[in-house]
């Protein structure tokens, strides 16, 4: 059973790589792209991430209904079953739904929905609906999906107030995904700056920075996030809270990055190619830009992509605890607030769907980061 490890497998993999002439002429980035492309999971994750971010950019296009509109007739309605086969057993090429009618169970006081199977409502794509302004520039009313009146389409069901969970999830992507990105960029700048200073100057500055980093790394983040987020004044607007959360997340997440940048800088400073460049009379600035930066830019991209999911998870947790993003602004964490106890979960399990988006996003970023790391490692074939 244990015999299978060893050298054999690795060698057989190496021969599969074709070394033609273009291989030797390819630049560093071209080589990375070649290796990355072979990493199927990472490629797929990259596509998933592009799709998710398209939700963040065009939520109005993806959404079926207005995210704030309360459909009183459909409060706590389960997701529509998308069907291809109708009540008589006939197959239809285009998917359709049946409208639901609400009835109150007088014993349990729960809403019960029954499908009205007399009329089919085909799902129409690229349909005209509520007008909106695309990216704040272009007036349009085209939506990805929709059904004819009087039925209303709820792909993910509705919440207690009868708001469409699907449309809310699409809009929530905007805050959840951009906070991860913005927070990471902020902490990236902080990390590069502080790590760079620490590695470049060395000496006592380095010692102080290292101690601060060790300190920040050794404290538990969530309680501190909570303390900082709970400190936001209640009169802050959604935008202010949004930026506040971003800053809070960034402030605690730069240390690992700074440490890595410093380590890399110390290592590269002594590298032979830097010495060679120095001997051939290259200036410091030129060495940094032409040799040092490219040799760890790939590494920084990896750190970036692996850092985003942590931010998204932290924001989700804070919003879930009602000390993060505040309604009416929506993030995935805000939507998950509705699923806070077993009772609401057992009655309407579909309220957990926004959580699936969190999981998919985090997974995709992790796989992407893995693929990038392998691609960026020149010693890995």
């Amino acid at each position: 059973m244990l015999r299978r490890f060893g050298l054999g497998r690795k060698d057989s993999k190496n021969t599969a790589v074709q070394f033609d002439e273009s291989y030797y002429l390819a630049s560093q980035w071209q080589l990375m792209w070649r290796k990355f492309r072979r990493h199927r999971l990472a490629m797929f994750s990259a596509l998933v991430i592009i799709f998710l971010y398209s939700m963040a950019v065009f939520p109005e296009f993806y959404s079926v209904n207005d995210l704030h509109k309360r459909h009183v007739k459909y409060a706590k309605a389960p997701p529509h079953t998308v069907r291809f086969i109708d009540a008589e057993g006939n197959f239809h090429l285009s998917p359709f739904i049946y409208d639901m009618t609400q009835k109150l169970d007088m014993d349990t006081l729960q809403r019960i929905y029954t499908e009205d199977r007399s009329v089919r409502y085909p799902i129409r794509f690229f349909v005209a609906g509520e007008p909106y302004r695309l990216l704040g520039l272009l007036d349009t009313n085209i939506h990805l999906m929709g059904v004819d009146e009087p039925a209303v389409f709820f792909p993910f069901g509705t919440d207690e107030l009868g708001r469409d969970l699907f449309s809310r999830t699409m809009h929530a992507a905007r805050i959840s995904l951009s906070i991860g990105f913005l927070g990471m960029v902020t902490s990236f700048v902080l990390g590069c700056l502080i790590g760079g200073v620490s590695g470049y100057f060395g000496g006592s500055v380095d010692i102080v920075v290292q101690r601060v980093i060790e300190f920040l790394v050794s404290i538990p983040h969530i309680p501190l996030y909570m303390a900082l987020a709970a400190a936001f004044p209640p009169e802050w607007s959604s935008t202010e809270v949004y930026f506040g959360i971003t800053v809070v997340l960034a402030v605690l997440s730069w240390p690992p990055l700074a440490r890595a940048v410093r380590g890399k800088l110390l290592e590269l400073r002594e590298a032979d190619f830097v010495m060679a460049a120095r001997i051939s009379n290259m200036g410091d600035m030129e060495i940094i830009i032409k040799h040092l930066l490219p040799s760890f830019a790939s590494f920084l991209i990896v750190v970036l992509s692996l850092g985003v999911p942590g931010m998204i998870l932290a924001e989700t947790a804070l919003s879930f605890l009602q000390i993060g993003i505040r309604p009416p602004a929506v993030s995935w964490g805000v939507l998950l607030q509705d699923a806070q106890n077993i009772r609401s979960l057992s009655q309407s399990p579909w309220l957990l769907i926004p959580g699936l988006f969190v999981i998919v996003t985090v997974l995709a970023f992790n796989f992407l980061g893995d693929g990038l790391r392998d691609a960026a490692d020149p010693y890995k074939q």
Binding site: F5, V217, I219, I222, P223, A230, I342, I359
Partner: protein, 331 residues
Amino acid sequence: MKSYVFQRLIYMIFLLWLVSIVTFVVIQLPPGDYLSTYISRLEQAGEELSDEEVENLRRQYGLDLPLFLRYFKWFGQVVQGEFGFSFDWQQPVRDIIGERLALTFTIAILSAIFTFALAIPIGIYSATHQYSLGDYIVSIIGFIGLAIPNFMLALIMLYVAWKSYGLNLTGLFSPEYLDAPWNLAKIGDLLLHLPIPIIVIGTSGTAGMIRVLRGTLLDELNKQYVITARSKGVGEVKLLFKYPVRVALNPIVSGLAWLFPSLISGGTITAIVLGLPTAGPMLYRALITQDTFLTATLLMFVTILTVIGTTVSDILLVVVDPRIRMERAAN
């Protein structure tokens, strides 16, 4: 070795002092203070407070002092083991946090053990069976554990336990055992409630650990000494555990320093969702009611727990790894 431990302990004390400053400053950030919350609550209830009464309350709680004086007053008391008074609970902070911190620590330790017990065998299996079906399956499970938010996993497990076994597993004890004296039945009840928090908190760190172990072990397995040993006829099992696994466990020991803060961190939210009687929910409530002294003390102790955990793991690493030991001795 001794001097290193001593050095590390001195540094830990310095860290602890930093912790106290940071926590106190953090607590001072919110606008207003407990008193203003308290007064507005009284006003909502229809009670009127005169300015004089407000002033008296202010002085009684030391809120009229400037920030740094308040810190020194608080710190002086902390050194004597006096952590101030919880406005919200109307009790000294010292009396209400002890049990909760002990439980927090216990759960963190148990989760760490769970993480190790799960990650080490799986990591070894994944490395020795690279690219096998089993490798893929455990990797996927590990990744899902990494990606699913703690609170969501907790909710789902609660829901499943309730749906399939009819058990309500919130908290650490069923209501009937809450105030009961310790006996076998109560311990049994506790054992029934413990798995969910431990699994939820533990799984988040497992994936990372599996990945690290798998990576280092794969590197080790391709080294010359392994081939040499095999060519000399050393059995596969002995060969695996005698050297490569021991080397590969090193990053895990050093990872302990990172694991501990993340366990406490993850434990906070999980405990809030599960309603565990640990520090997390108490901190959450204290933050919302702006119960200054309680928040500061909890935040401080939770951090102290992690700083101690980090220090212990650092010292452990020196004990385990002869290379680091030599390096320290040389300095």
